[in-house]
């Protein structure tokens, strides 16, 4: 039994060693040193070619920096009119009325946050469960196949999630899940009122499927990075497999798990099409998850190409700016958390 437990370790450290190859730095190529008296013509031209090539590659890399800066700049510029007109009241305003030209983004922020929270509440336990099962219990062949299948979920285009949500998931929710929730938890304001089909709940459910591969993949990597010795230490003390997970794996990978979750959250906040198709697109703040809502990304998707006045366009661009700023912060945070652990 012990032997069987240790066996995957051998393979695992093998994987680690291969990755460690990356960190072995290539010996710097001795370039023509300046203290050398007069470089020959051939050496000189080679030196220039070297610099030219590196310069070209550098230029392309700088382009990335330029693109990110340009995205921020353009979005701030596009939303400057709305920023000036509404100021901070844009994010606290509850009225979105294009006819009267009053724009407040709070309903969208509410919808984005609530649908993402539902997604997280469902997705976190499921994806951590999948990741744990794959790294701790499943045999190697199963790990390969199931992680491949779960990652396929990420390959499905979001418009198809939306299509599936409209025609398969919502009818299922309407006939099976919503009546049950209403009967059992109807006293809570969360499950109050009639179920329209398109709702915050549907959006959250679709999102929970869409972020599952992200959280699973990242947390799986984090779990695999936990040294096998720690698990074995718990097992050697007579602990069960679950105890080794709780005491060694989960404890060691706490910041990595948070990173994975935050990364998933970033995905959920910015997801557009699938949410637009199932959230109901109504700018209201209602406590019930059964009622339709709206999200920042979907209001842009729905209204941007029809917006006629400069202020309307600008207000929608500001929704984009909020989204940009939030995902920027969230992703930066996630990267920090995940990198620190695996380093």
């Amino acid at each position: 039994m012990r032997v069987a437990l240790i066996h995957p370790l051998i393979k695992r450290t093998g994987e680690g060693d291969r990755n460690r190859l990356d960190s072995i730095t290539l010996t710097q190529i001795p370039q023509e040193k300046s203290e050398r008296a007069v470089p020959s013509l051939k050496q000189k031209s080679r030196f220039n070619a070297e610099r030219l090539f590196k310069g070209i590659l550098l230029l392309f890399s700088l382009l990335i920096l330029l693109i990110v800066l340009a995205i921020f700049f353009e979005l701030i510029r596009s939303s400057s009119l709305s920023l000036k007109t509404f100021g901070f009241s844009f994010v606290t305003g509850r009225v979105w009325d294009p006819v009267k030209e009053i724009y407040g983004a709070l309903p969208f922020i509410y919808g984005t946050v609530v649908s993402s929270l539902i997604a997280m509440a469902i997705s976190i336990p499921v994806s951590l469960g999948v990741a744990l099962f794959l790294t701790e219990w499943a045999p190697l062949w199963m790990r390969t196949i199931v992680s491949f299948l779960v990652e396929l979920l990420a390959a499905i285009p979001s418009v198809i999630y939306g299509l599936w949500g409209i025609f398969v998931m919502i009818p299922f929710l309407r006939t099976n899940v919503a009546p049950f929730l209403q009967e059992t938890f109807g006293f809570l304001p969360l499950f109050d009122g009639p179920f329209y089909g398109v709702s915050l709940l549907s959006a959250g459910l679709i999102l929970s499927i869409m972020v599952l591969p992200t959280i699973t993949a990242v947390s799986r990597e984090v779990f695999l990075a936990v040294p096998q010795e720690l698990r074995e230490a718990v097992l050697a003390l007579g602990g069960t497999r679950w105890e080794s997970i709780r005491l060694a794996v989960l404890k060691m990978s706490r910041s990595g798990i948070i990173g994975a979750v935050v990364l998933g959250l970033g995905r959920a906040l910015g997801e557009t099409m699938a949410v637009t198709m199932v959230i109901g697109n109504r700018p209201e703040i209602v406590a019930s998850l059964f009622s339709p809502g709206y999200s920042l990304a979907s209001v842009i998707a729905n209204e941007f190409s029809e917006a006629t006045t400069p202020l309307y366009l600008s207000a929608l661009a500001e929704c984009g700016l909020i989204l940009l700023a939030v995902t920027f912060v969230v992703n930066g945070l996630a990267r920090l958390l995940v990198r620190k652990k695996s380093a």
């Binding site: 550098l58 890399s61 285009p157 418009v159 198809i160 299509l163 679950w242 557009t272 661009a317």
Partner: protein, 282 residues
């Protein structure tokens, strides 16, 4: 008493195996349900006209998505022409020269770019191209998509180029070949398979994107191969059909979904196959 404690621990373990295994089962089941429905609904709606004819007006039977298929291909081509060189060059830079703070910040920005919501790229392309050009166009759609390709290509290229063993580089350098030529001729050709994978993953990603095209390429019900005009795309067409109230259009949406999913899966699975084989070879 001790016995009770022991059993409780054993049962906790069992319960968690069961829960985690159940989570696996549920995820695979959801994938099955998704793909199953797409195939089931799509197969019955797909026919030859779907690939050869543009859409018909509401109520008129027949018609297909040929214009959207061509549109998607054109958009992918525009995006590739912009995105592939930038992506590969940056990936090479990071892998070969990428030490120090500057390279780290480029890596960071690439990750940031990768995590930005795709609709933001649409807003960016709108401000950058649609407004100056005075109208929706295929060009702007292509640019928006290229921004989504770049981070995928950069990170994957960097990874595969780093996998090229240093002994190969050192051997070439020992023969007196300059470093830039070593990179261009030897490192790149060794990592060729991996770089192709990077491009395929990027194409697979943008193939399914809708949000950045909504107000750039905009969509078009007619034949249009001029990128200066609004251009149809499969994802846009599926979206329009899916939220319409007509059953006939819903069927077309499923057919489009089937084609799109199959293409996307094909690209992803091939790319993955290449990576696995490539890794084994190295």
């Amino acid at each position: 008493m001790k016995n009770f404690h022991y059993h409780r621990r054993k049962w906790t373990n069992r319960i968690f195996v069961f829960l985690c295994g159940g989570a696996c089962l549920v995820s695979v089941l959801v994938l099955g349900l998704l793909l199953g429905y797409v195939v089931y609904k799509g197969i019955s709606a797909i026919d030859w006209a779907f690939f050869t004819q543009p859409p018909t007006p509401v109520g008129e039977p027949g018609g297909g998505m040929a214009n959207a298929i061509i549109g998607t291909l054109i958009l992918i081509s525009i995006a590739s022409v912009i995105g592939i060189p930038i992506g590969i060059a940056t990936g090479l830079y990071l892998a070969e020269y990428g030490r120090g703070r500057f390279a780290d910040s480029i890596r960071y920005l690439t990750d940031v770019l990768n995590g930005l919501p795709s609709i933001v790229m649409g807003l960016f392309a709108y401000a950058l191209i649609v407004i100056p050009m005075g109208g929706f166009s295929g060009w702007s759609g292509g640019v928006a998509l290229s921004l989504l390709m770049i981070p995928v290509i950069v990170r994957t290229t960097e990874e595969v180029v780093k996998l090229v063993p240093n002994s190969i580089r050192e051997g070439a350098l020992a023969l007196g070949i300059p470093h830039w030529k070593v990179i261009l001729r030897i490192v790149v050709s060794t990592a060729k398979g991996g770089i192709v994978t990077a491009v395929m993953l990027a194409v697979a990603r943008i193939m399914g994107e809708t949000a950045p095209l909504l107000f750039t390429a905009f969509g078009n019900q007619f034949w249009q191969t001029n990128p200066s005009e609004p251009m149809a795309a499969m994802t846009l067409q599926i979206f329009t059909y899916a939220i319409s109230p007509y059953d006939d259009w819903h069927a077309k949406a499923w057919a489009g979904a089937l084609v799109l999913v199959m293409m996307s899966l094909l690209f992803n699975i091939t790319a993955r196959f290449f990576t696995m084989r490539g890794l084994k070879k190295m």
